[in-house]
């Protein structure tokens, strides 16, 4: 009795999630769009915030941050688990490939109230 309900709920969650994955992947690597998990994501730095602030993707994915503010910012791992970007001036980009699953918290070392997180899930 409970199982069908659960399936409906799961499909409600999974269908939109799959669409998001498809769109993001399609934009970056059309050849692998249909079967590959999320391979690349972008984070916009604007108005002193990381957008989106929380990003979930599969191991091996690349995240690229772009600073759209006229003030420099950094992408700095909160626990030194990845290399800091250093100062990103207007228009500068920084990319990191996340190979290992885990939750990677980061912040801007100039404006520490700016925080973000990348959640990396196992690729299988």
């Amino acid at each position: 009795m409970k199982r069908p309900t659960l399936q409906i709920i799961l499909s409600l969650i999974l269908v939109p999630a799959a669409l998001v994955v498809f769109r993001a992947a399609a934009a970056n690597s059309p050849a692998r769009a249909i079967t590959a998990p999320l391979q690349a994501a972008t984070v916009s730095i604007s108005n002193f915030s990381f957008q989106p602030a929380v990003l979930t993707l599969k191991a091996g994915a690349r995240v690229t941050w772009t600073n759209h503010d006229t003030t420099p910012h950094t992408v700095t791992s909160s626990d030194k688990r990845f290399t800091s970007s250093g100062g990103l001036d207007t228009g500068d980009q920084y990319s990191i490939v996340f190979d290992k699953p885990g939750a990677y918290e980061y912040f801007c070392s100039l404006h520490p109230m700016m925080v973000g997180k990348v959640i990396v899930q196992p690729s299988n």
């Binding site: 108005n47 002193f48 915030s49 003030t71 912040f107 520490p112």
Partner: protein, 332 residues
């Protein structure tokens, strides 16, 4: 920090309880009046009179009279952001030069200049080169710096300290005495923690406690730091998370003046005997807290208005207990 001439460290010059103005007179003065706070060309002229620090416009004609009546004066500039080249100021080097020209034009030369941080925009070697070269244009012999977070970008301040922090103690903080007043340069822009504000840190706080321990409570104290030492607007990071401890060490002094930069606008607060002032930038204004989504440069400022926002500001004969009466007049 450059090596100091002997006059900066003469202990005997420090104001003692019975020295100078009668304490009651000075105390009354401190409590009742902030005589003159002023701003011109991105700089403030600070005048020490009877142990009370006052600010004075750089371009108004009566400056010379006020300075003649004072113990000494100095100038504050801040946030020159050399390397910034966007709206509303594509040439921040030119406006820094203008500020320096204003200071040099004073009829009575200030004793020294203080720069309260963000010398550069991105802490690049060539940006520090420009700061060093342009600030050599001050006729005044000494310029004291404290770093802003932009100066510590990428290397936690290593490059800044090797060039502008020589002779300082610890991680770059310092103090010196000048004709009875005790000046303290603090650093609150290193080792930021995620989600946090500016930080002084345990080591610096311990140093500060020791630094002021032997001083008479009547010694005028002037504190320089880049980020505000009071929480002005936490959402924008305008504050220092452990400043309360620093202020606790300073509360016993009859006159404490805290000069900050960082927010590119004049704000003022009085807390007992402690007066806080934030300075304008020589480069660009930032809107008031909370009026826009983020604390970035105010790009909406047109070229003809820029100089009015890094221009002249007078604040005169204001009772400390009431809001400041501020008069702005444009440079051009």
């Amino acid at each position: 920090m450059p090596a100091l001439p002997a006059q900066y460290t003469i202990e005997d010059n420090r104001m003692k309880d019975q020295d100078g103005q009668p304490e009651t007179q000075a105390g009354m003065d401190r409590r009742k009046f902030l005589k003159c706070m002023a701003w011109a060309g991105g700089g403030v002229l600070w005048v020490m009179q009877g142990g009370v620090l006052r600010a004075q416009t750089l371009s108004v004609g009566d400056t010379a009279a006020a300075v003649a009546d004072s113990t000494f004066s100095f100038v504050q500039i801040s946030d020159s952001h050399i390397g910034f080249h966007q709206a509303p100021n594509p040439d921040v080097t030119a406006t820094l030069r203008e500020a320096i020209a204003k200071v040099n034009a004073l009829s009575v030369a200030p004793a020294f200049v203080v720069h309260t941080g963000d010398l550069t925009h991105l802490a690049k070697p060539e940006q520090f080169d420009t700061v060093a070269q342009v600030t050599r244009g001050f006729k005044t012999e000494h310029t004291f710096f404290v770093p802003g977070e932009h100066d510590a970008l990428g290397d936690n301040g290593t490059q800044y300290f090797s060039r502008f922090g020589k002779g300082s103690s610890g991680q770059g903080w310092y103090s010196f005495d000048y004709r009875g007043a005790h000046f303290i340069g603090l650093i609150n822009v290193l080792d930021f923690r995620p989600g946090g504000l500016g930080r002084l840190g345990h080591e610096q706080l311990e140093w500060l406690e020791k630094d002021v321990k032997g001083l008479s409570s009547s010694t005028p104290i002037v504190v320089l730091a880049h980020m505000p030492l009071w929480t002005m607007y936490e959402k924008w990071g305008w504050g220092t998370e452990d400043s309360a401890q620093a202020l606790a060490y300073l509360r016993r002094f009859g006159s404490v003046t805290v000069l900050n930069g960082h927010i590119h606008q004049i704000q003022h607060k009085v807390e007992g005997s402690i007066r806080f002032y934030t300075a304008r930038s020589t480069a660009y204004p930032i809107p008031e807290a909370g009026t826009v989504p983020a604390p970035g440069p105010d790009a909406s400022v047109t070229a003809d208005r820029l100089h009015s926002l890094i221009g002249v500001r007078d604040v005169r004969y204001v009772k400390v207990d009431s809001p400041l009466a501020i008069t702005d007049s444009a440079l051009n």
